[in-house]
């Protein structure tokens, strides 16, 4: 296990480095500069600003310096959007908002999706199964911005009777303001989880140990929850890592629809503003977060199925 952890950490480090370098190069190949805005400053000012923030040096030198600072936990300061404010502080401000929505979205996706999948598998071929399958296929075919904007027009629109939720996200309003964004964001993962859970549950229910359990005279709930579910969960968990990443990134769109002051929306604004340290900071942070999630999912494997030997990569 220790060897495996070290190997994983090494891989994570290389990935992070790769992402950082790639982002840095891509970012610098976008023409434009953070100093250009409506009022075009004179060239002398631009030069002075470039010198002050080290933008006049070759890209390779800038990259080296950035990586060195990053290793010491310094992500630089924002150049434009919140001028001279440390990027770390900005992330600390914005990430909790995104994380909260993402967390609740994933939570409802799992809490609802897995049981739905089990119900469908248990009632295979009956109308419950077909009904759930139709719902879930429709669910994975609707981009989250479609869901979000349809919800927004229906439940926060002009119709007084249905106007149950606020149109613009405001953390002060409490639970009410979270419901629509979390629902919109979690619908896709919920449907996907349900489909996944259904097929792996069917797999598990066809196994010999289930027959044995039945032969022993166990009751259905006991068979499903104690014997089948644990094994059926493994493929579901496999998908959870990338799913978490996708949900957090899908959050960009939902954040735009509901005007949530989250990290995703900020990231997009930072690209159009060429605010280099903010672009780098958010990308590196989100990449690190996703890598961490994938690692946690691997550890979760082991909890669910002790037979899995992580060290040999036996998935």
């Amino acid at each position: 296990m220790a060897k495996y952890t070290i190997k994983r950490l090494g891989m994570a480090f290389i990935t992070l480095l790769f992402v950082a370098c790639l982002t840095f190069l891509l970012m610098n190949s976008i023409p434009g500069s953070p100093w250009l805005s409506d009022k075009n400053p004179p060239q002398a000012t631009i030069d002075a600003l470039n010198e002050k923030y080290g933008l006049d040096k070759p890209v390779a030198v800038q990259l080296g310096k950035y990586l060195k600072n990053l290793a010491q936990g310094d992500m630089g300061v924002s150049l434009k959007m919140q001028k001279n404010r440390p990027v770390i502080e900005i992330i600390k401000d914005m990430f909790p908002v995104s994380a909260k929505i993402g967390f609740f979205a994933i939570l409802w996706a799992i809490v609802v999706g897995v049981p739905l999948g089990c119900i469908a598998a248990y009632n295979r071929g009956k109308w419950v199964d077909s009904f759930l399958r139709i719902i879930c296929t429709i669910g994975i075919s609707m981009p989250s911005f479609v869901v979000a904007s349809l919800l927004l027009t229906t439940f926060a629109g002009t119709n007084e009777a249905l106007r149950l939720f606020p149109t613009i996200f405001d953390a002060k309003l409490g639970v009410n303001t979270y419901i629509l964004p979390c629902f919109a964001l979690g619908l896709y993962p919920m449907c996907y989880t349900a489909r996944q859970a259904r097929s792996s549950m069917l797999d598990a229910l066809g196994q010999d140990y289930i027959k044995t359990a039945r032969a022993k005279g166990l009751k259905n709930p006991s068979i499903i929850f104690k014997h089948a579910l644990r094994n059926a969960l493994i493929p579901v968990i496999t998908y959870l890592g990338p799913q978490v990443a996708f949900t957090f990134c899908g959050g960009f769109v939902v954040e735009k629809v509901f005007s949530v002051p989250g990290l995703g929306r900020y990231f997009i604004q930072s690209i159009s503003n060429r605010d280099y340290p903010v672009i780098m900071g958010t990308t590196v942070f989100l990449a690190a977060f996703i890598i961490l999630m994938n690692f946690l999912v691997d550890v979760l494997y082991k909890v669910v199925d002790p037979r899995i030997n992580l060290a040999e990569g036996g998935k």
């Binding site: 891989m11 994570a12 290389i14 990935t15 790769f18 992402v19 790639l22 982002t23 891509l26 970012m27 190949s29 976008i30 023409p31 296929t137 429709i138 994975i140 075919s141 609707m142 981009p143 911005f145 479609v146 904007s149 349809l150 927004l152 027009t153 629109g157 002009t158 097929s199 069917l202 797999d203 990338p242 990443a245 996708f246 990134c249 899908g250 960009f252 769109v253 735009k256 629809v257 990231f267 997009i268 690209i271 672009i279 958010t282 990308t283 989100l286 990449a287 996703i290 890598i291 994938n294």
Partner: protein
């Protein structure tokens, strides 16, 4: 006597008379009999068999029909509509997909006056009452109540039997119709610049489909090459190549695609303006934004395909026919191309087909965030994004492209599922 065959020429004996055999029955078949041989079943190829299974799947066939309809809508449709997707129709701005006939409009106007007139009258009345100029808040309030009072006209409409008629026409267009001219309706209304929404929907669908298919083919090309090389050579080559796959796998795709498509755009624009060769004009017709989008997609999304193909090749390469090919002196390239890849064609087709909705999904995300196709070109995602601003008044502008997009992705998903069941029955659950 000869055996009574179940059917003339059939090789299957009639089981009931099976035991009434005479020695002549064991004589070799004559030339005549051989020529008269009719096989019991026609031999079927892999594709015929798959097509038979697919045809039985009603859901998939319905999805296929929807896809074909969408293709017709997107590629043939614009030829029948006399409006261009980027054509501003003067005087036809902000039309709903429905209209009132001219007489009805006249009655309505007579009762209500136009919006502005009513508001002005209300403001003037309030000013008189108050005796001084109104604050902007008060004016806003009056405007709001004036707009809200529109709701009362429902009763009035019923009384005079005023009904909405389908399709949008502007007033001048209605007059031209009265004069006997033929005017093509704005079936889905127009946007704030007077552009016909249906044509834009057609063009948008076309863009989404093109991106989906091109990106899926790109993924196929990269993924199949990479996966087969990695799987076939195995050992150290495989180890290194798989580390790289893992690396790409854990990159936050959305972030990099966003950056990549923004970064590629200017260099593609430069390339487009650098000359007038075939590739330059290709970039010109497709638009740099579009190309950068699917290049970004192709560069990041091939990993799933590569993994699947590698897994297949790892299994296949141990089989005897590969050893036989090696013994006959076939090179690695030939074995991969002629022997291994054709054997995983089912998996390849299915994965490619399911890649299409994924690409459409991503394109709509990007366009919605404003980094997809650039104006005046349009896509379903950017249409939905544009509509978000006036969504309370012009909800249909959001709902129609959103529904079209969802239906398209749904159809591709269902068809892909059916294709998987048909091509690879082992996977069916």
């Amino acid at each position: 006597m000869t055996i009574k065959k179940a059917k003339f020429g059939s090789l299957q004996p009639d089981i009931e008379n099976l035991l009434d055999l005479t020695p002549e029955d064991f004589a070799p078949a004559t030339q005549e009999q051989k020529e008269g041989f009719i096989p019991d079943r026609e031999s079927t190829s892999y594709w015929k068999d798959a097509w038979r299974r697919l045809r039985q799947n009603k859901v998939s066939m319905a999805a296929l029909a929807v896809i074909i309809l969408l293709i017709l809508f997107a590629f043939i449709g614009p030829m029948f509509v006399p409006y261009g997707y980027d054509q501003f129709n003067r005087g036809a701005e902000n039309l709903y997909p429905w209209h009132y006939s001219l007489e009805d409009q006249a009655i309505l106007d007579g009762v209500l006056g136009s919006d502005d007139e009513r508001i002005e009258a209300a403001i003037a009345a309030a000013e008189k009452e108050k005796g001084s100029a109104l604050t902007s808040i008060e004016i806003a309030k009056i405007k709001a109540t004036a707009k809200a009072s529109k709701l009362d006209i429902d009763e009035f409409k019923k009384e005079h039997d005023i009904k909405l008629k389908p399709f949008g026409y502007s007033k001048s267009e209605l007059k031209r119709i009265e004069d006997g001219e033929k005017v093509f309706p704005h079936v889905c209304g127009t946007d704030k610049n007077g552009r016909d929404i249906m044509v834009r929907l057609m063009v948008g669908t076309r863009i989404s489909m093109l991106i989906g298919i091109c990106a899926a083919l790109l993924v196929l090309l990269i993924g199949a090459t990479y996966g087969s090389i990695s799987g076939f050579f195995g050992g150290k080559v495989d180890a290194v190549m798989q580390r790289f796959v893992e690396l790409i796998y854990s990159i936050p795709e959305m972030l990099v695609v966003l950056l990549l498509s923004t970064a590629l755009k200017p260099s593609l624009e430069n390339f487009q303006n650098s000359g007038s060769g075939f590739f330059q004009s290709l970039v010109g017709t497709l638009g740099p934004n579009l190309i950068s989008l699917f290049v970004a997609f192709g560069l990041l999304y091939w990993v799933t395909m590569a993994r699947i193909i590698r897994g297949q090749i790892l299994q296949l390469k141990e089989q005897e026919f590969v050893t036989a090919a090696k013994a006959l002196g076939a090179g690695s390239g030939r074995i991969i191309k002629r022997h291994l890849l054709p054997n995983c064609i089912g998996q390849i087709v299915v994965t490619t087909c399911l890649q299409i909705p994924a690409a459409i999904f991503l394109e709509s995300f990007m366009s919605f965030l404003g980094v997809g196709v650039s104006s005046p070109m349009t896509s379903l995602g950017s249409m939905a994004s544009d509509a978000l601003g006036g969504v309370q008044t012009y909800g249909y502008r959001l709902v129609i492209p959103a529904l079209l997009l969802s239906i398209m992705i749904l159809a591709f998903n269902l068809f892909g599922d059916g294709l998987r069941d048909a091509l690879d029955p082992r996977l069916k659950k």
